[in-house]
């Protein structure tokens, strides 16, 4: 987690606030998916592509983890994607990161398997199968961070005097 846990001026040290952010974000993603799916039922890749871009935006700006901004520090231990921001994950951060990826992995794999079988001709639900596979893609990109934000307890500790990163 970042040293300064704020998003749009809201205090994100409280777990309840973080859970609201996760719930609202996934509700928005689901709504976008339904709208895009309704508008574009062709076999074109517009629907998954737009959702993919949206997920990357969510990661980069809200959740963090695989981006430079957001509530969670970059997961890697090096500088993320060439930006000159420091990244320091201590032993607890790394342990939590790995555990959340383990949980997310099982959910994503389950969705992929389900989507694959439902998408087969013999089941007759190719659209549902495709939707589940796109859902697995979105969750694969965002679920570890969402689980981390959801599970981490309240952190009402004093924040450092100086911000961890200079404002963008």
């Amino acid at each position: 987690m970042r040293d300064r846990m704020r998003l749009l001026g809201l205090n994100m040290t409280r777990r309840s606030n973080r859970r609201w952010v996760v719930a609202v974000t996934y509700a928005a993603l689901l709504a976008s998916g339904v709208v895009l799916w309704t508008l574009d039922r062709s076999e074109a890749l517009t629907f998954p592509f737009l959702l993919l871009v949206t997920s990357l935006f969510v990661n980069g700006v809200i959740f963090g983890g695989y981006g430079c901004w957001g509530l969670i520090r970059p997961f890697n231990t090096n500088k993320p994607f060439g930006f000159g921001t420091p990244s320091h994950n201590d032993e607890r951060d790394l342990r939590r990161r790995d555990r959340m990826h383990f949980y997310a992995y099982r959910i994503v794999v389950s969705l992929v398997v389900l989507g694959y079988f439902l998408g087969r001709d013999s089941f007759g639900h190719p659209q549902v199968g495709n939707a589940l596979l796109v859902g697995a893609l979105i969750l694969g990109l965002t679920l570890p961070q969402a689980l981390l934000l959801w599970i981490e307890p309240d952190m009402d500790f004093e924040a450092p005097a100086t911000p961890e990163y200079p404002p963008a």
Binding site: E91, R92, D93, M155, E158
Partner: protein
């Protein structure tokens, strides 16, 4: 994933610590202590609250920083108040 199972395990393996007392004695903020042992200040908060048990490396780093044995900082059983120690009240 089960928070109940996780919290039950944490309860079973709970490690008590004197970090808040030691930190207060030295007038340190969590941020200062965290910087000294190379962790994030939130980790110090979780340690003090008993939400996280440190690795051996971190326990040794804290022990070295405070200059006291590890068992004076961490214990699997609740610490007894200092006033119950035999030397307490004798001026030693």
């Amino acid at each position: 994933m089960s928070n109940k199972t996780s919290s039950k395990r944490n309860e079973e393996m709970r490690i008590y610590n004197r970090l808040p007392v030691l930190r207060a004695e030295r007038g340190l903020t969590r941020q200062e202590l965290a910087g000294s042992v190379d962790v994030n200040y939130q980790t110090i908060g979780f340690l003090e609250r008993g939400d996280y048990s440190p690795s051996l490396a971190l326990a040794f780093a804290l022990s070295e920083f405070f200059g006291v044995p590890i068992e004076a900082i961490f214990s699997p059983r609740p610490f007894e108040p200092l006033k119950t120690w035999p030397a307490a009240g004798s001026g030693q």
